[in-house]
Amino acid sequence: MCTTVENESKIERELLQYGTVGFRITGNSMNPLFSNQRDAVFLKKAVPEQIKKYDIILYKSQGIYILHRVVSKKGALLIVRGDNTYTNEYLDIKDVLAVVDVYVRRDKSHSVNEVGYRFYSRFWTFVYPLRKFVRRVKIKLTRKRKKS
């Protein structure tokens, strides 16, 4: 009726056995959507042909689990980026472990099909060049201030 499983290393086993998994967020690379240790996600095992642009996917890079967003899809190649990171990662679609289906933000559950979320994911990806520019300007200003 109920099984409890300690997390982390068992994510893949859970996905294999049940096709679903859930865990609390670690890290801030998906800010402002997810915050470290505050929010959580529920994922479904990935079906490669169903993965779309804007999906938040789970994959492994050098043994570490990463939860980032698909910002571009070209055939089997995915370009992936955290909502709070400024570098692209390139990934084969076959390496995607799972896709976020439901997330909990500030103790409230949301489906990825909600209008608000869909708007956010598209808007945030669309304004990436602007965000990147603003960040560069900020860094330059900070450096100048330090010099003077």
């Binding site: 009726m1 109920c2 099984t3 409890t4 499983v5 300690e6 997390n7 982390e8 859970e14 049940y18 096709g19 679903t20 998994v21 859930g22 865990f23 609390r24 240790q37 505050r38 929010d39 959580a40 529920f42 994922l43 479904k44 289906d101 439901v102 909990v104 103790d107 559950s109």
Partner: protein, 88 residues
């Protein structure tokens, strides 16, 4: 019996999964998997402190199961939750 504050239960695909996000539950770093009966009981215990007898009555109202078996299931469920530190 009451589920500690901070757990969130969701139906994902054909499963019910609960994880700990905040409050008292934060010490729990795993996944709780439930079937539909488990999820039914979980929801009864989520917001209020209910007794074993209350759970039994509600379960018998909702499901067509013999009393003995229902009670057995509730006790097993209770033990799992207690052992996982999900109820106090």
């Amino acid at each position: 019996m009451k589920i500690k504050d901070g757990f969130v239960l969701e139906e994902v695909g054909e499963n019910y999964i609960a994880v700990a996000v905040s409050g008292e539950a934060r010490g729990f770093n795993g996944v709780v998997r439930l079937n539909s009966t488990g999820a039914f009981l979980w929801n009864l215990m989520k917001d209020e402190d209910v007794s074993r007898e209350e759970l039994l009555e509600k379960l018998l109202e909702a499901y067509d199961v013999p009393r003995e078996r229902a009670l057995d299931d509730i006790i097993k469920f209770e033990n799992t939750l207690r052992c996982g530190g999900i109820i106090a």
